[in-house]
């Protein structure tokens, strides 16, 4: 029997809902998709609960209508500058007398790694496992191998209780369960960077409207993630102020004429703000638009470079830098990213087989949610469900959701 799963991203510019059907053979079909402008959100955080909830609910409703089915549980993307990541490590010595690694050894190491409690008022959002080391060697699945010591780590992201609760309540108000919270950056990089790229080492930068999420992969595992509270809205805001135009016109100018890098062809050329040349319309040099955008985008990558200081190692980043998200559509961003970060940056492309209507950079996160949700992220030798109750169960207890059977 096929299974229906849903994904929700509460984005700063749009709330998106996606419904997928997993066939018996494990293939995923997107059967419903809707997005609604979201006015309840600023810089990746909910500022107006009712507006955000209304946008999410109507997106979910439309997606359900389109698919002709209903969903019971969804994967929810989580972002916002309140999220902080850290590496938690655990180790265990192999207990059996013949030095053969057992599942319980892995579990002990994992427990030790996750033992550290988050600070007051904060909750873990996501534990992402990093490679397992058996006596210092990276192994895929050590169960059954010989060795004496297991080391493993979790890149653990914790966030503000209130912010997470609010996001969860948006979903529970629609009588849905949140199956799992997934970090936006991890969701979008799951989609945009294939397993081979992740193994080669790659940095995925998801430039959204409110925030820019990034995830750095090394050896196929997450090495670092982060959120920078600067996004496409900042570009619009800057244009609005710099060119002295109202925000809707600034947005329009950004989309129609925005470039992040100056183009000698544009020298001396003007564009009209409204375009109908009526009273109140005026023309502005293209150069002014480019100048405003360039400073902002360059600053964004400078901040990224500061955040990733010491982590960008040419040997560990053979996959280069991938850009996605709505704001990555600005012409010239990839040149600026390459120049400032010092690695080849390019716009990420969707894997083949995704409907061209869906294959837009702004959909990377929500599509990635489904794909990430389908993958098995548990410890080798354990069933997926077991792992989930491990950290999500704790969540449910904290946020007051019923424990899922």
């Amino acid at each position: 029997m096929s299974k229906i799963i849903g994904a929700v991203e509460i984005g700063t510019s749009k709330a998106k809902a996606l419904i997928g059907e997993v066939a018996e053979n494990g293939t995923l079909n997107v059967v419903g998709m809707a997005s609604r402008p979201n006015e309840g959100m600023r810089k990746g955080e909910i500022v107006d609960f009712r507006k955000a909830a209304a946008a999410v609910h109507s997106a979910l409703e439309d997606a359900e209508k389109m698919s002709g089915t209903t969903v019971d549980e969804v994967y929810l993307a989580q972002t916002g500058s309140h999220l902080k990541g850290q590496m938690l490590r655990g180790s265990a010595s192999v207990s059996s007398s013949d030095n053969r690694v057992d599942v319980t050894d892995l579990q002990r190491a994992a427990e030790e790694a996750k033992r550290r409690k988050p600070d007051d008022g904060r909750t873990y959002v996501h534990h992402v496992r990093t490679p397992i080391l058996l006596d210092g060697r990276v192994v895929q699945d050590p169960v059954g191998m010989f060795g004496s010591k297991i080391d493993l780590g979790y890149w653990s992201i914790d966030g503000d209780d209130q912010a997470i609760k609010q996001a969860l309540h948006v979903i529970s108000n629609y009588s849905l369960e949140v199956k799992d919270l997934i970090l936006s950056s991890i969701a979008s990089s799951t989609m945009m960077a294939g397993p081979d790229l992740r193994r080669a080492g790659t940095l995925v930068i998801d430039m959204g409207a409110g925030v820019t999420d990034f995830a750095l992969y090394r050896q196929g595992f997450v090495a670092c993630t982060g959120v920078i509270p600067v996004g496409g809205d900042h570009v619009t805001g800057d244009l609005s102020m710099g060119l002295r135009v109202l925000e809707p016109y600034a947005e329009k100018l950004k989309i129609e004429h925005g470039k992040a890098i100056s183009d000698p062809m544009d020298e001396g050329e003007d564009v009209w703000i409204i375009g109908n040349k009526t009273i109140g319309d005026r023309s502005i040099p293209r150069k002014a638009i480019t100048d405003v955008i360039h400073v902002r985008i360059a600053e964004l990558f400078e901040i990224l470079s500061k955040e990733l200081e010491g982590l960008l190692d040419p040997d560990e980043l053979k996959g280069g830098i991938l850009l996605t998200g709505g704001a990555s559509l600005l012409p010239g961003v990839e040149q600026i990213a390459s120049k400032i970060l010092g690695f080849n940056a390019r716009r990420a492309s969707f894997p083949t087989g995704i409907d061209s209507e869906l294959a837009q950079p702004e959909n990377a996160t929500v599509l990635g949610l489904l794909h990430y949700g389908l993958e098995d992220h548990g410890l080798p030798g354990r069933k997926k469900e077991e792992v989930e109750t491990g950290f999500l169960g704790k969540f449910r207890k904290i946020v007051g959701l019923g424990v899922q059977s």
Binding site: R42, K43, V47, V230, H234, G237, S240, D291
Partner: protein
């Protein structure tokens, strides 16, 4: 005191028909304040006095202000404060009585103080408080340091918040934005000079409003009523036009004025002062149109002071000055005897939906109150509500200033446009 003979040519107004009885004082505090006062070019208002206040006696000696006051000698021995605003504040508090005496009988006070330095930042809030206590209307023009001067900048913001508690209107002039003034190849000095000129125009406009008879006349009482509350955000803009289409040109320039496009400025004003000065040829129809346009642009509520003055010396030129204040802190009682914003609104006739404050969050309450009060005007009411909603959305989305927390990264507020913080000039 009068300095007629010093700057005879630059004046826009002739000293005849000046209305007596109201006294204004321009007070420059600290280095930046002093240089602004010295740069003013409209010194022939009979009842406008200049006072320079500083701890640095040498700087004071160079000032051309009519009245000078050195303070804090005991603490600094006549030298500067070295950026210590707590020191300046302490010293100023000790000289309270001297300042009170200087403020006696003054109705209108203009404070010019750079908030990045010690003297301006520390003393300006104290003087503002004393002036309010003395019953004066206080307008403050305050240059702010560049945002890359991180520690000075954050200190200036503290002082600004302090000053806002007492002044009726505080017009921040961030150096970041001043660099955006003038033409594409203007030097930094020219930008600052231009900014100084705009400040002087602003003060001149307010003085003209109060002291001269105009074509459309408003007086001190109007001004007082419009601004008689604690200052929230303030907007200040200036535009000038020449030739046949002067008035349109002036409006255009006004709307492009960099000072109206600061991160801290919301373009919705609860109180708005518009002053148009033009030559004898200024047409009434054009005036009316311009006033409607400006009102709309700033979504002005009830408190509009509109003045038009004719000056033969202007020829075909037209100048428009706009000064507005948004009452951000409607809920917080004012520190002195002045009526609070709510009291002021309550007194006014409720012909339209009262905008208690466009940025205040508790708008639902006021909506509920006004609807049952005017059941017959329902249609008109709806219309007003719509514009209200539109405006609300505009405020929120344009600029991030309404968010409760700032987006600080390494000492810089990332929500402030990058080009402003990086000092990149955008020529439009």
């Amino acid at each position: 005191m009068s300095q007629d003979n010093l700057f005879p040519k630059e004046t826009n107004f002739s000293p005849e028909n000046e209305i007596p009885g109201i006294r204004a004082k321009i007070i420059g505090i600290g280095g930046a304040g002093l240089s602004l006062v010295d740069g003013l070019r409209f010194d022939n208002f009979q009842s406008v006095e200049h006072l320079a206040v500083d701890v640095d006696s040498r700087a004071l000696a160079d000032s051309i202000a009519g009245e000078k006051l050195a303070f804090g000698r005991r603490h600094t021995r006549g030298m500067g404060t070295g950026g210590e605003h707590t020191l300046a504040r302490k010293a100023m508090e000790e000289e309270k009585d001297v300042i009170r005496k200087k403020l006696e009988g003054v109705d209108l006070v203009f404070l010019l103080a750079g908030l990045g330095g010690g003297t301006g930042g520390g003393a300006a809030p104290v003087i503002a408080r004393l002036a309010r206590e003395a019953g004066a209307l206080v307008f403050a023009f305050t240059p702010l340091p560049f945002s890359w001067e991180k520690s000075r900048h954050s200190m200036a913001e503290e002082c600004l918040a302090d000053l806002r508690k007492f002044a009726n209107a505080v017009i921040p002039l961030p150096n970041d934005s001043l660099l955006q003034m003038g033409g594409a190849d203007a030097t930094a000095l020219e930008c600052f000079a231009e900014a100084g000129r705009n400040v002087s125009m602003g003060i001149s406009a307010i003085c003209a409003l109060v002291f001269r008879r105009g074509m459309i006349d408003v007086d001190f009482v109007h001004l007082r009523k419009a601004f008689n509350r604690r200052a929230g955000r303030t907007l200040f803009g200036y535009g000038e036009g020449d030739g046949e289409d002067a008035i349109r040109q002036a409006v255009r320039e006004l709307l492009l004025c960099p000072m109206l496009h600061l991160p801290d400025v919301s373009k919705a004003a609860d109180a708005l002062l518009i002053l148009i000065t033009g030559g004898t040829g200024m047409g009434m129809a054009a005036l009316q149109q311009v006033s409607t346009e400006i009102r709309e642009e700033f979504k002005a509520g009830e408190h509009i002071v509109f003045g038009a003055h004719v000056d033969e010396n202007m020829g075909n030129r037209v100048q428009i000055t706009v000064l507005g204040a948004t009452d951000l802190e409607a809920g917080i009682p004012t520190a002195d005897v002045a009526p609070t914003a709510k009291e002021v609104i309550a007194v006014l006739p409720k012909s339209k939906v009262a905008h208690s404050s466009k940025l205040a969050k508790e708008k639902k309450g006021s909506k509920l109150k006004t609807v049952p009060a005017q059941p017959r005007n329902k249609k008109k009411d709806d219309l007003d509500q719509n514009t209200f909603e539109f405006m609300e959305a505009e405020n929120q989305r344009g600029i991030f200033g309404d968010l409760p927390s700032r987006n600080i990264y390494a000492g810089e507020d990332l929500d402030v446009p990058a080009y402003l913080r990086r000092g990149v000039k955008i020529s439009i």
